[in-house]
Amino acid sequence: MKVVNWFTPAIALARVAWLRTVLYLFVILDMHAFVRDTRLKGEHTGLYQPLFLARLFDLPRPSVTNTTILYVVLIVACLVGATNWFPRIAGWVVAPAFTWWVLIGMSDGKVDHDHLALVVALWVLPTVKPQQKGWRAYGDQSRSEAAGWAVRCVQLSVIATYFLSAVAKLRSAGWVVTWPGSAVLTWAIVRRPHPVGEWLLNHPWMLHVMQWVGFIGELLSPVVLWLKGRWQLLAALFFIGFHVANTAILLIHFLPTVVCWLAFAPLERIVPWFQRRSRSAGDAGQAEDQAEDGGKAKEQAGA
């Protein structure tokens, strides 16, 4: 039973409300900045190579008409979902629509691996039934196991992205550890030259240190799921630093994964924090109340 409950911790509905707003708005950004060639693929279908899911569900070939409809539907549904009004209806539209959007975007022979957590998040968010609508949802402290399951799924997908990257590195070498000592970063920099990288080419040992740190970090990433409080924060900062380094060296940002780290953050504390601040601005003598609220919020933070 303990194992089963691990998948469904009770977490405040407010965290899901914040995730809805941030992630649905992020999808709109994503459609313009990252997976942004889907509509273009409706115009030029020459290189279209449907992926397994597109074949399984017999999805139509991208065309100007269907990619334009998909675009409009996604924008509208994301804007609605982000307000926390009718978030479940909007969410059940966004999940399949964005999955199809990304599926088309990656149906040209190249698949990126930064969208797992975001796509999983979009499928699990609508399973959570809110108790408050609109802006009130951001402060809803009622804890729900359904919310906990959704948050846990996003956390698992974030961590899977790292851990499975280490698995892929082992697999490609025939299940031996050769990747960290190989010339993979040199290879990457030669193919995408830029000033930081070209300076590093002269110091291959530094690239090897980075490869070892990255590989060990990825391999140990599942530990983050059981860390609490500031240790979990430190781990999150390590991985965000890892992405900053990747962005500097490889020009690969992984923002769709990075934004999903918010599933680990105690976002439900934002509203109480602001309330306390405005209260203590008016009345400095509420120390007892604050201590009590703080303790309550801390209990959930590790979940």
């Binding site: 998948f7 899911l53 698949v111 729900s144």
Partner: protein, 158 residues
């Protein structure tokens, strides 16, 4: 699906069925991901292996880089910007399809079409060449400038 009851602490608890189904979905998802990483390919996205930059590159590797070079109607030779804003096709898409383009260079036509459509006021592409640059590594270090080889040539149709 979700039989919801309110627990003693005011928490919204899941019913037996709702919880069981959720845990099952999570376990199946983990199973699909592990399966993908251990034996599948990118084809099964999002359950495929996280294989970006996952290969071990040997210290004596020949690093290849593919680009498209264009002769324009202004008589200049330029490297085609392989991105959405340039010719509407990403470099990775070209690299993933090299074999097909070599067999059927007419696939390069859409590079010219994409460029002409996005940049109607710029010189048009007259001839496209798919070129592979090869950089040699010796003991993990770059040795000399890259060597270039033309893989396919396409005379652009108007």
């Amino acid at each position: 699906m979700a039989v919801v009851t309110t627990g003693g602490a005011g928490d919204v608890r899941l019913g037996r069925a709702g919880k069981g189904l959720r845990v099952l979905v999570a376990l199946v998802g983990i199973g699909l991901l592990v399966n993908g990483s251990v034996r599948a390919t990118d084809d099964v996205w999002p359950f495929g292996p996280m294989s970006q930059y996952a290969m071990s590159v040997p210290d004596d590797a020949a690093i290849t880089y593919t680009r498209v070079s264009a002769l324009t109607d202004a008589g200049t030779t330029v490297d085609v910007p392989l991105n959405i804003e340039g010719a509407g096709v990403a470099r990775a898409e070209i690299e993933a399809r090299i074999g097909e383009i070599v067999k059927d260079p007419s696939l390069l036509q859409q590079v010219a079409d994409g460029w002409a459509k996005k940049h109607p006021d710029k010189p048009k592409y007259v001839r496209l060449e798919l070129i592979r640059d090869t950089t040699q590594l010796v003991e993990g270090r770059v040795e000399g400038p890259p060597k270039s080889e033309v893989l396919a040539t396409w005379q652009v149709r108007r």
